[in-house]
Amino acid sequence: MTHNRRIENSAEHHEVSALLPWYVNETLGEIDRQRVDAHLGMCAACREDLAAQRRICEAIDAQPAIDYMPVASLKRLQARLDALGESDPTIAPVKEQPTQRLPWRGWMAASVAALAVAVALLAANRFVQTDAHLMQPNYRTVTNSAPRPQGEVIRAVFAPSITLVELQSILDEAQLRIVSGPTEAGVYSLASNSTLTVRASLALLRQHSTVRFAEGTLPEPEPGDSP
């Protein structure tokens, strides 16, 4: 049996090998860390495993996460808590503190008000010559009054059932990335990742049945305009 083989069959090797993930994420205590250091100095297999674990750790850590705006989820939680409080009086009541409103609450209220104004103006402009009785708000708008997120070129809505993996795959294909969203209406703001034209990215998006809506946010160039 070679020296290396003896090391790899030792109890110490197996115990140290089990600690390697936490050596990688640097959460081992000092005693265990020194123990791993000492073993690594003599065990080629553990050094190789350590390098592999570092690659896996970096890859997992670097995986893109889709950012969801949590406000809509929070509102649903608040509704559940309200219902809970009504059905069970022993639950702590909501503490109303009108003088200390959270900053985002003020922002939301202002945003909703501005959104309502924007929708009204848009509707007036779009349908100024139509019968006002036809203007029942039986839809959800994808416009908003907030400043356009930096780099946004497309707004899109995806099917609620779309998975994160599917969403990322579609965005990769269309060479887009999320810069904001989804809003409460499920609207994502997308920016370009490449020199692909917005028109081409839109075409790639629209070929997927899980893309419910996709429109550019910049003015379309007129025919004959120089690029």
Binding site: A51, I60, Q63, P70, L81, V94
Partner: protein
Amino acid sequence: MTLPVKNSPKERDSALLVAIAAGDRRALEELYLSFHRRLARFLSRFTSRYENVEEIINDTFMVVWQSAKDFRNASQVSTWIIGIAYRTALKSFRRQKNHAAAQSLEDYPEQTVDPTFDAELNDWLNHGLSRLPMEQRLTLELAYHMGHSLEEIAAITDCPVGTVKARMFHAREKLRQYLPALSGGPAGLSARIG
């Protein structure tokens, strides 16, 4: 309630939990917003559907709201909350027997990934992770993305340290099998192809 200024996230979380125990809804909202991103990322390893992720997060914070008064500082607030989310996710998982996440390694034929598979690193990783049993996948996420110690993961998952080590060992072995490019790097991949 005006919360005192705290220097560290841990102190801030503890102060918020004390306020929540006293019935402060604003404190709950603040804690919710500060945890939403990391919980969403963690739970996306469990289910790819956001509506499920949201449901688990909200179920978790219902428990936080109702149980904050029972928190005894035996662990960090973050460990406690992530542990609640973990167990809530497991319950949800067991309710949805046909959920895609229920697929374990045993559901797949024993085969390695074609090393010539032309994909980005993320594709490789998602491919490999999707074939791990959920407990192993979440253990990897807790250690490699969230940076939790062995003892913290044992507390979060409510199981002995030895079980955490075993789950991680099996996860590493299976990833090594499924992800030759990751476990051996480009040189390892070339060697396997060659």
